[in-house]
């Protein structure tokens, strides 16, 4: 097949690079969501330990 003209080839190249970037962005977003969930749960645990009476206390 002869080489595609630049305006037509550009669409394919853009699509391929967009697929790659989308995969990375979605992956990082999912990991980011997991880390924010860990942060929230950690905050809950800190609150829980703050409510506990100190050992040996009244």
């Amino acid at each position: 097949m002869p080489a595609l003209p630049l305006d037509e080839a550009g669409k394919y190249v853009a699509a391929a690079y967009l697929v790659f970037l989308t995969l990375i962005v979605v992956y990082v977003a999912i990991i980011g969501a997991k880390i924010s969930r860990i942060d929230r749960e950690l905050g809950e645990l800190v609150e829980l330990t703050d409510e506990e009476p100190a050992p040996g206390g009244p």
């Binding site: 080489a3 595609l4 080839a9 790659f20 990375i24």
Partner: protein, 241 residues
């Protein structure tokens, strides 16, 4: 545990990826045969190479798990395979786009390189149902490691078999003579491979850090709940005496 050295690694990854993109679009010459469409090569081939190396690395980590009994190696193996499957999805999609642009077809079933990669990809898709159908954590880790080793050994065998097969349409990139890439293209290609490998290691460490933190949090919660139960049960036990 896993986050050590993550920051310089992330900086190196971003810089290498940006350098790779800059080389692809501003330095590497246009291909005489395919023209601008050939730029897909710089994302498609590094993704394929890193994905296949990730599968093999997953198998090596699984060997470490079976030899040492340390479950953290199973987790490393799982994350490497998981990331390789994500990259494999990218390889199949970008490959189909490139095939459509240069051959006029999304897929060719008589092309050994394409079909063999699809077989490897589908083989590893079986890893998830196998792993998550086993509830006992030790058995899950052991069976997953056995699968990762067997499938990891299949990857280079499959690669060699395809190299021996007659070339139909798909070009051969890596050869003993260094391929047919001119200097600028070869430099760009190697920078793109380095960028993809660094991206893989960065994301692998990021996911391992997240999984490790999550596991530690679960342990901490369980320990606090146990302590709270002991405290509420304590006075009741004391009054019975």
């Amino acid at each position: 545990m896993y986050s050590k050295g993550s920051r310089p690694l992330a900086v190196a990854t971003v810089l290498t990826v940006l350098a790779g993109f800059a080389l692809v679009f501003f330095y590497a010459p246009l291909d005489a045969d395919q023209g601008f469409v050939q730029k897909i090569f710089y994302v498609h081939v590094p993704m394929a190479i890193v994905a296949l190396c990730g599968f093999v690395a997953g198998g090596i980590m699984a060997i470490k798990h079976l030899r040492t009994g340390d479950r953290s190696w199973d987790m490393r193996s799982y994350v490497a395979i998981h990331l390789s499957i994500i990259l494999g999805t990218g390889v199949l999609v970008t490959g189909a786009i490139w095939a459509k642009a240069s051959w006029g077809h999304w897929w060719l079933w008589d092309e050994p390189v394409l079909v063999s990669f699809l077989i490897v990809f589908l083989l590893y898709c079986v890893y998830y149902p196998l792993r998550f159908s086993i509830e006992d954590p030790d058995r899950q880790a052991r069976y997953s490691s056995v699968f990762a080793i067997a499938a990891g050994a299949f990857v280079p065998i499959n690669f060699a078999a395809v190299r021996l097969a007659e070339q139909v349409t798909h070009p051969r990139v890596l050869s003993q003579t260094g391929g047919n890439l001119p200097g600028e293209m070869r430099l760009t290609f190697f920078v793109c491979i380095a960028a993809m490998a660094l991206l893989f290691v960065t994301l692998w460490k990021l996911e391992l850090t997240s999984k490790h933190a999550s596991a530690q949090l679960r342990r901490l919660r369980a320990r606090l709940e146990l302590r709270a139960e002991e405290r509420t049960a304590g006075p009741a036990t004391a009054s019975l005496r």
